[in-house]
Amino acid sequence: MNEYLNIFFVILRRDLTLAFRNKSEFINPLMFFVIIIILFPLAFGSDSALLKQLTSGIIWISALLATCLSLEAIFRSDFEDGSIEQLTLARYPLTLLVSAKVTAHWLTFGLPLIIVALLTGLVLSVPSQTMLALLITLLLGTPVLSLIGAITVALTIGLRGGMLLSLLILPLYMPVLIFSMLAVQNATVGQSIAAEIYFLSGILVLAITLAPITTAAALRIRLS
């Protein structure tokens, strides 16, 4: 059993070192995330009551769009230098290797995104219980974004048609966005957010079980 765990961590460590080696791929989505958030006060006027109400929504939508941009990085470099073939043809199940890569993507993009999102939340004076709901929904939501995103990236890597990835992925992200936003709004008015959190964790568990297998199948199809 530890043979499989060992290979999981080898691939994970490899991807993390790769991410730290070329920082631009790792920092750009965060900068993009902050820039989108800055657009909204410019659009609505900085101190308007409307902005107060929308802040957590803006944070979540910017997180979603930033993840959308960062998804390409999971397989693009492997696809270009051919190591995706080596992964597909290794003796270990491709599902395991793919989940290692998706975990690496979440650690390099999802986690920093949550930290930066919370910082911007503080700066934009979001009330504390909304911050808590924002943190929980982001913690449950961003892995789902990475997992489902990996399927679509595996299908569309290297294809012409630039926005194809976002066109395919955003409809699948809507349930996560809907439940997160409902949880955040309930938290702002002090109601319990248990229902939405249950649903989000349900979607997360579904994504964890089904997404890696589908990504492996999608990769095999894309390589054929």
Partner: protein
Amino acid sequence: MSLYKKCHRWFHQFASPKYFYDISHIISKYAIVVCIICFIAGLYGGLILAPADYQQGDSFRIMYVHVPAAWMALFVYVVMAVAGGIGLIWHIKLAEIVARNSAPIGASFTFLALVSGAIWGKPMWGAYWVWDARLTSFLILFFLYLGYIALQSAFEDRRVAARAGAILALVGIVNIPIIHYSVEWWSTLHQGSIISQIDKPTVHMSMLIPLIFMVLAFKTFYVTSLLIRVRTEILEYESNTSWVKQLLRDYKNVTN
């Protein structure tokens, strides 16, 4: 010969393009006839015979386009996912062709459902687009269709495109109930559920029969449109086989 072996042989025989090409002519003849009859019956029943609804007056007659279109939008997506799955697992070329050619028809049904739903909303709720739960789910379904079609056209090799499309359709099928339920949850929280009670007209028997005719008409229409597209693609696929060449020669005497 055991039952399993018999239907296994029949399944593979049915899946051979040549056999399907000949059969499809017969099927589409019947389908066209049934389709026209159902359309006439449905329209006549729906527009003329059915009494006006006590609450909505005559505007409920849009239901005879909206409900069948919406039903077909979901039905075609399921057919696409199932056919894609069969093509993916058993590498049956015919299933891939059926899946790929169902997408545009499904997309136009979804578009029809959206437009009719929006126009139906105007007399009832006063605005064309009223973020009603069902309409929003169909809007997302419309984007799932557009994504599928865009993905198909992004690949040069058709076989790979079909299998990639099958994966996307299967992922979509898993997501449709989640999307639908989350949108329902979202819309009941925002608008309150009063609105969704009104627009379900108390369906009186004389209103229901035309509706069934219209659904049948849409289904047979789907079959006819699909068969034309599938036949064209079979010809393209099998263009260098002898039976297609022979067919093209015979066809030549007919046209010129």
